[in-house]
């Protein structure tokens, strides 16, 4: 029983990472109908930028994370302007393949810059776990959950209460109408892409303090993010968050109780089943 709780706890951590990445991807998917296969590289770069900020710039962890997020968002902005903007009118397959190419490019750039050996970011938190009633939680994991909740709440506030958020929601619902009322669609796209990149970077920088960094971690994250987005319903933020958490927990439980070798298979089988039987995903409305 304790094992199950422990596993669920671990699953929630990873799940929250999935959720963050997936929310950004949902926005990009929903707004621009772009299957961004390079999305996971933002996660990867968030982690690696944080690593460099800590190791080479000698910044403290929190500043390093902030810097990493900013740097990744700048990169996301640049990529949208340079590459994706030119592909908006092309058939979906062209844009999709371009993202695959970008994914390769970014992954191997990382490998050339940081090498192929696993790296790690030293966590700033004390290793002694906190006791919250019956559960024992390592401090850094608490931090990750706290930040994730904060970021999602911030994102929610952004969407609901700011002009930008309203413009994004309007464009999400109906591009033509949004354009008619004067919303500059291109700016919305670029902004959304940048925000999406930033959220993936946060996830990377946070989880980078627990997991090892490898240049291939981006491709992995992309795959998981897609699974989450699709299972959750491709236009639904709530769906992305809930599915992300569920996937994390399902994988953790699968690894613990069934087999750690096939734990990734859980996600893949889930996605196939969900896609075949509920075409809009669990929460999706419009597809």
């Amino acid at each position: 029983m304790e094992l199950a709780v422990e596993l669920v706890g671990q699953g929630l951590i990873i799940g929250s990472g999935y959720a963050l990445i997936a929310v950004g991807l949902t926005m990009i998917f929903g707004l621009m109908n772009l299957a961004n296969f390079a999305h996971g590289e933002f996660y990867m770069l968030g982690a690696y930028f944080a690593y460099s900020a800590v190791s080479f710039l000698r910044l403290n962890y929190f500043l390093a994370v902030a810097l990493a997020i900013a740097a990744t968002m700048v990169l996301g902005f640049a990529l949208d302007r340079l590459v994706f903007r030119r592909l908006r009118r092309e058939p979906i397959m062209s844009a999709t393949m371009a993202t695959i190419g970008l994914s390769i490019l970014l992954q191997y750039t990382a490998q050339m810059v940081w090498g192929a050996y696993p790296l790690s970011i030293k966590s700033p938190f004390p290793p002694e776990p906190l006791s919250l009633g019956p559960i024992v939680v390592p401090v850094n994991r608490l931090f990750i959950i706290a930040v994730t909740i904060f970021v999602i709440a911030l994102f929610h506030w952004l969407l609901k209460s700011t002009r930008l958020g309203k413009a994004i929601r309007a464009t999400f619902q109906n591009k033509e109408s949004a354009a008619l009322v004067g919303i500059e669609i291109e700016r919305i796209y670029t902004t959304a892409f940048t925000i999406g990149a930033g959220m993936a970077a946060i996830s990377g920088a946070l989880l980078g303090s627990i997991f090892t960094l490898l240049p291939t971690m981006g491709g992995f994250a992309t795959l998981k993010a897609f699974i989450v987005v699709i299972v959750g319903g491709m236009g639904s933020f709530v769906g992305a968050i809930v599915s992300g958490l569920m996937l994390g927990v399902a994988e953790a439980l699968g690894a613990g109780f069934v087999s750690s070798a096939y734990k990734d298979g859980v996600g893949f089988i889930v996605v196939i089943v969900v896609l075949l039987f509920t075409p809009q995903g669990l929460f999706g409305g419009k597809s």
Binding site: T96, I100, L105, L223, I230, A261, I269, V271, L276
Partner: protein, 329 residues
Amino acid sequence: MGRAIALAAVAALLLAVPILFRDPYVLHIAIYAGINVMLVSGLNLLVGYMGLLSLGHGAFWGLGAYGSALLAVKLGISFWVGLPAGALLAALMSFLLGNLILRVRGHRFVIITIAFQEITRLVHYNWVELTNGQNGLSGVPSPVVAIPGLLEINFFAKENFYYLVLAFAALTVYVCYRLVGSHVGRALVAIRENESLAESVGVNTFRYSMIAFGTGAFFAGLAGSLYAHYSRYVSPDVFDFIHIVEMLIMILMGGRGTIAGPVVGAIIFTALPESLRFVGLSPAAQWFTLGLILVVGILYVPEGIVPRVARLLARRRGARPAAATENPA
């Protein structure tokens, strides 16, 4: 007439490769190019002609490789049986999978194909008793033809294997060419262009998707078997997503929706990474370059090399470029 001469010249050149290039390294690249031609010609039926981005093609290649290799290594079955067996295994899997997923479209289809390949990889990686896991299967024998007194060929020699691959690659291209020049090819294109309209004039989308999917899988399986008996070793690395990226680059840069495009793409992009290696680039730098080429290619030469060259030639000859059709039909 001009086309027949050009084809004859190309055929003669291809047949003469082992004579012109004695270097076994060149033959090695040529053999891989041939294997890639088989892979991407089949995949192009789906990606180029039908417009369906199937990212699980590597699974069929790997199934053909493992199927043929396992039969040879564990049961001592001859390559000449293992080859069609591997291809049929791949085709069967595509049939089963296709029935499940070919009614789904768009991004969902893409993700499912990725998931399918990943699951296949996981199974081959972890089912150690059968596949030897990550250590892979070694000792896969080279094909041999042994009719005592009449004919004895050992395909261990690169020149011989080259001709074997050349024959199957030519077969693959021929079959694709015929398919594309028939109502099947027109149906695939129609589905890509406007699926509802195609259905409304009698095109059974599911049936033709299955034909394209199965044909592609069959040739991928053939290619897999050839690959296994050439390298004499198969590991779960055949299921790596990176191979799909390679295939996409070949199709995209070569020219999707044409027959010659993937062939040209396969040759160029089999030779290119090797040349990059030759020039001293690290594997990471090679991949970086390929990724860069893919992105730049999509931005600047979206239709691919073969159609672009064809357009330039047509313009030189004075034909109106605006009226040029996309496919030979």
